[in-house]
């Protein structure tokens, strides 16, 4: 087995092995656990870097293992996968740092970090899946590994949230499985390939392929939280903040969105999907989700719930970008995969900081928090502005490309949707910012566990990650034209998907 | 001659068996029925065995047939005694003719 086969496996192992070891560690071995966590995250970053360099140099990375005759676990590292891998690997490092600070002194930390690492492993698997079967394997693993994190606190609310989460995702998994087996039966394999694999079938299969598409999208749509399959997401917000941050900004919902991308581009092939008339319904579903999520977010007082509905809305941008036939929309969707990730994780980090430092959970309690926690609130503001699509932020870039894409695809109504969404974004974020910066603080905070000492507003492990990611939001927006920006990357991918590069 | 004797014994044996069955059918209580079985049937068996032994191939075979009889007798004696004793212990009264019929 060559280096080219080992590297993808090593990327998986760099979080799997520490995770398994952490499970076995006694609760009190904090130092070793922390070291393992960070070591895993750093090693993974290095490995991802190697992969990036290799792929950029035109190397092919892949690994295959047959589990049944005609059925293989396949891994490959391509540009699209690497986009997702890099995002996850980087954010994992920050989230780990954040989680170490957040969970200081909490019970069952070995269990928490163990499953946390498993989640990352599953996410890596999803990103590197070389066929739909492998994608599904890790997709289900992700469900299983996140469940213990959702119910981590063991309270009745956590139990309820976990149950709802499982009900949605397992049912979605079953539907997805049905679609995959069907596809496997029709095509004989489920490889991800440029231009898709379904197009090879004759026109007499069009009907079946439409049903399969519906099954597949419904399956991944659960995790991507497409309306009406989004019901689990707000309820899963009972999880600890790092979980909400990583999983509901990056891993889980992105896994769904990423699945939609893979299915449309590499299973059906965007041209073939368009010819079957599948993209338009997808666009409609995404549009409905965008508007509905934003509307619901407007009426949430619970901060994390408001963020969760915002996620519902924002993740659908990706699906929307994919559904806009044409390279520009694609670029918008793909770049939003990254941009939404860094923006939303910043927001969740900040929400976690408010809750952990001052016991603030509700929007209505945030009055004047900007004075008590200026750095956190600054990061929150940047990310929120990004979400609205304010200039110089990452959000502006993705929205701009999406609007262009819609115009190019001659779907002007989408532009309306995007503008409506932006307005609604503003409507649910601006009051928070206003309240945080300009309203007077209360006499006493509800539950202040970390006292302000000098210039330090909270534990530095909680503060650094949101600041870094907030900075990233700005950098991604300002340097969007650079060679190494997510945008450039998305262009590269789109160029490969559409035979005629722009 | 032996042939005829043997056949005769078989028929007599059958007759005793018949009598035993008749007794079983007609006798009024368990004790009397035990009489019928223990005596008539055993005698019937004895006759049949003797009849067959007469025509047996060898002396040993004949003795083997005759050997069955004491075994059956012992079994009958033991079982009828056991049943009668148990019946009596459980207080089953023997049937008695109604006095006025005499």
């Amino acid at each position: 087995m060559s280096m080219h086969a080992w590297l993808p496996l090593a990327v998986l192992a760099s979080s799997l092995v520490p995770g398994l070891v952490i499970f076995a560690l006694p609760e009190s071995w904090i130092g070793l656990r922390t070291a393992l966590n960070l070591l895993g995250a750093l090693v993974k970053l290095v490995l991802v870097g190697l992969l990036l360099a290799g792929v950029a140099a035109g190397e092919q990375y892949g690994f295959r293992h047959a589990v049944l005759p005609g059925l293989e676990l396949a891994f490959k590292a391509d540009a699209l996968g690497l986009l997702f891998i890099s995002l996850s690997a980087v954010l994992w490092l920050f989230t780990t740092l954040y989680a170490i600070g957040y969970l200081e002194g909490a019970p069952h930390r070995s269990r928490f970090f163990g499953f946390f690492s498993l989640c990352v492993t599953a996410t890596m698997g999803i990103a590197m899946a070389g066929n739909l079967f492998t994608f599904f394997v890790f997709y289900e693993l992700l469900t299983l590994a996140t469940f213990p994190l959702v119910v981590h606190r063991g309270t009745p609310a956590a139990m309820h949230g976990g149950t709802v989460y499982l009900a949605y995702t397992l049912a979605g998994g079953a539907v997805l499985l049905a679609g995959i087996v069907w596809l496997h039966h029709l095509v004989g394999h489920t490889e991800f390939a440029h231009g898709g694999i379904a197009a090879a079938l004759g026109p007499q299969y069009a009907g079946q392929l439409r049903i399969v598409f519906l099954l597949l999208i419904a399956g991944v749509g659960v995790k991507a939280a497409l309306v009406p399959l989004h019901g689990w997401l707000p309820r899963a917000m009972v999880a600890p903040a790092p979980v909400s941050a990583l999983l509901h900004a990056v891993a889980v919902v992105k896994a769904g969105a990423f699945g939609i991308v893979r299915i449309v581009y590499e299973v059906y092939g965007v041209e073939f999907a368009q010819s079957l008339g599948l993209l338009f319904p997808l666009a409609v579903a995404a549009a409905v989700t965008i508007v509905w999520g934003s509307l619901r977010a407007l009426f949430q007082d619970d901060l994390k719930k408001r963020l969760a509905f915002s996620t519902v809305s924002q993740v659908a941008y990706i699906a929307l970008g994919v559904a806009l036939f044409g390279p520009i929309g694609t670029i918008g969707g793909l770049v939003h995969l990254v941009h939404q990730g860094i923006m939303k994780i910043t927001l969740f980090f900040c929400a976690g900081n408010y809750a952990e430092t001052l016991g603030l959970h509700k929007v209505s309690e945030l009055s004047g928090v900007g004075r008590r926690m200026p750095a956190t609130t600054l990061a929150f503001s940047i990310a929120a502005l990004g979400m609205m699509g304010a200039p110089l932020t990452a959000g502006a870039v993705s929205k701009a490309w999406l609007i262009e894409g819609a115009r190019a695809a001659e779907m002007e109504w989408v532009i309306g949707v995007l503008w409506t969404s932006s307005l609604l974004n503003a409507a649910y974020f601006l009051p928070i910012l206003w309240r945080a910066w300009f309203r007077p603080p209360p006499a006493a905070w509800p539950d202040e566990h970390i006292p302000a000492r000098g210039r330090r507003e909270t534990a530095w492990l909680l503060l650094v990650p949101p600041l870094v990611t907030a900075a990233a939001v700005v950098v991604a927006g300002v340097f969007a034209a650079a060679d190494w920006s997510p945008l450039a990357w998305a262009k590269l991918i789109a160029a490969r998907e559409y035979v005629t590069p722009q | 001659m032996i042939e005829w004797l043997s056949m005769g014994l078989l028929l007599v044996g059958a007759g005793f068996f018949f009598a035993g069955t008749l007794g079983l059918l007609r006798f009024p209580d368990v004790y009397s029925r035990l009489h019928a079985l223990a005596k008539a049937d055993n005698l019937g068996l004895g006759c049949v065995l003797a009849g067959l032994a007469l025509t047996a191939d060898s002396l040993a075979a004949a003795l083997k047939l005759l050997l069955i009889w004491p075994l059956a007798l012992a079994a009958s004696a033991a079982v009828s005694f056991a049943i009668a004793r148990r019946a009596q212990a459980l207080g089953i009264a023997p049937w008695r003719r109604e006095e006025r019929q005499e």
């Binding site: 499970f23 047959a66 049944l68 069952h108 289900e140 693993l141 469940f147 499985l177 | -």
Partner: protein, 474 residues
């Protein structure tokens, strides 16, 4: 042993006898040594079959139809392998499980030995009447193991089980009698070319009765009534053996006859077992979801999981269906043994058998909890477990033949399994009630349960090897 085929039958008979003579303490060592040797023999046999095709042995040197032939094709070799290795795990578990004074321990080893001998003999038998004897061997040993626990519930369950087993084997024997009457032989190899679709009516009756008997013994709905009390009431190692192996034995036999000598008649009835299997999945899962106590929950889950095995009958035209059946046998055997083993750990730790009682214990027994989780993955058919591969093949076979309702049943059954599995897991994550006492449990118990569960998941990566082995057909 020169011939692994024979050694696998003689060895357990030998050590079971020895274990009886030696008594429970030293008997355990005889048993462990014997099972380890069997595991090695099974491995040899699998290698031999994989390389050289079906292994045969003519007992007494006569050859069928006068004598009895033993034969192991890929399916037999695979099941033998499963049986020995699983038994090794359960034996290690049982050695730590039974306390010195436990009445269930007195005759556990000899009975388990005879049970294994019966199973092995069943898997290598190639003669209908010999199969009857092995069925009785397995049935009576299983009943004895259930009854040995000695409580009123267990005895009642054992009695119910015994009658079901006897009715089943009686039906089978009657079928064998008819077959002998029609063809004058009971050797499967000799019979196979003789039975045609134009066979006399009696052969159809015989086949039906044998199938019915085997279905009763493998607890297919609605003949499952005996299973939950028996498997739910027995001591954990016994439940593990019974649920994992014993019910599979009669299914194996059914499959063997269905694909072998009775193949010309089989298509006529293919949908009946599938319908009953679907009913079993729904009813068993439903009862498992509703169960209050842990071991009955697992036992009802067995009822449901056995249902999958019978879904394959209308699909056997596609090779994937056969693979699905075997894979499900493996997956369920390992997972169910792990679950019962884990349940035994909880019972020893908390002294109670309720699902609610898990709330406190699970946090303190993480290895066992993991075992339940992994085994649960297999039962619910979640990837990358062996149960998932079974489900995959089943659905694929169903779609290939256009029988999509079977695929729907398989998917729905998986979801229902997930419901009862996560009902248990969820309880484990609940906050522990204060002060619930948790007794210390031997490490060996936890880790054997975990090893079995891990095996059920890891097997999901080695499906190709298993499928290659069972390709070797007589």
């Amino acid at each position: 042993m020169a011939d692994p085929l024979v050694g696998l039958v003689l060895l357990p008979l030998g050590w079971a006898t020895l274990a009886f003579v030696l008594g429970p303490g030293r008997g355990a060592w005889a048993a462990l040594a014997g099972i380890a040797a069997q595991a090695w023999l099974a491995w040899l046999l699998a290698a031999q079959v994989g390389a050289g095709g079906t292994a045969r042995h003519a007992v007494g040197g006569w050859g069928a139809p006068l004598g009895i032939d033993l034969a192991a094709d890929g399916l037999s070799a695979a099941l033998l392998l499963l049986t020995q290795w699983l038994a090794l795990g359960v034996a290690l578990y049982a050695r730590s499980y039974f306390a010195a004074g436990d009445p269930a321990r007195r005759y556990f080893w000899p009975l388990a030995g005879f049970l294994l001998a019966g199973l092995n003999a069943l898997f290598v038998a190639n003669d209908l009447f010999n199969l009857y004897v092995t069925l009785e061997l397995v049935g009576l040993a299983a009943v004895g193991l259930v009854a040995a626990a000695g409580g009123e519930r267990q005895i009642a369950a054992a009695l119910r089980y015994l009658f079901a087993a006897l009715a089943g084997s009686g039906l089978y024997l009657f079928g064998v009698a008819l077959v002998y009457g029609v063809y004058g032989t009971v050797s499967i190899a000799t019979l196979a070319p003789l039975i045609t679709p134009e066979a006399p009516r009696l052969v159809w009756i015989a086949g039906g009765l044998m199938a019915l008997g085997l279905v009763v013994k493998s607890a297919l709905f609605p003949f499952h009534f005996w299973l939950p009390p028996a498997h739910g009431g027995a001591p954990a190692p016994v439940s593990a053996l019974l649920s994992a192996l014993v019910v599979k034995a009669s299914f194996y036999l059914l499959l063997r006859l269905w694909l072998g000598p009775f193949a010309p008649l089989a298509p006529a009835a293919a949908w009946l077992p599938a319908l009953l299997g679907a009913a079993a999945i729904f009813w068993g899962s439903w009862r498992a979801i509703r169960a209050e106590r842990l071991k009955p929950l697992i036992a009802w889950s067995t009822v449901a999981q056995l249902g999958y095995l019978f879904l394959i009958f209308p699909l056997l035209a596609v090779p994937a269906a056969f693979g699905a059946g075997v894979m499900q046998v493996f997956a369920h055997a390992l997972a169910k043994a792990a679950l019962f083993a884990a349940a035994g750990v909880f019972i020893q730790a908390t002294g109670q058998d309720t699902v609610a009682g898990l709330a406190g214990a699970a946090a303190r027994l993480p290895v066992t909890l993991f075992a339940i989780g992994l085994a649960g993955m297999t039962l619910a058919g979640l990837p990358p477990s062996a149960g998932f591969l079974a489900k995959w093949q089943l659905i694929e076979a169903a779609l290939a033949l256009g029988h999509w309702p079977i695929a729907v049943v398989a998917l729905a059954g998986g979801l229902m399994a997930a419901v009862y599995v996560f009902r248990v897991l969820r309880q484990a994550f609940c906050l522990a009630p204060a002060g619930a006492p948790v007794a210390a449990v031997p490490r060996a118990l936890e880790w054997t349960a975990f090893a079995l569960a891990a095996a059920s998941v890891l097997l999901g990566f080695f499906g190709v090897d298993l499928m290659t082995l069972i390709e070797v057909r007589a």
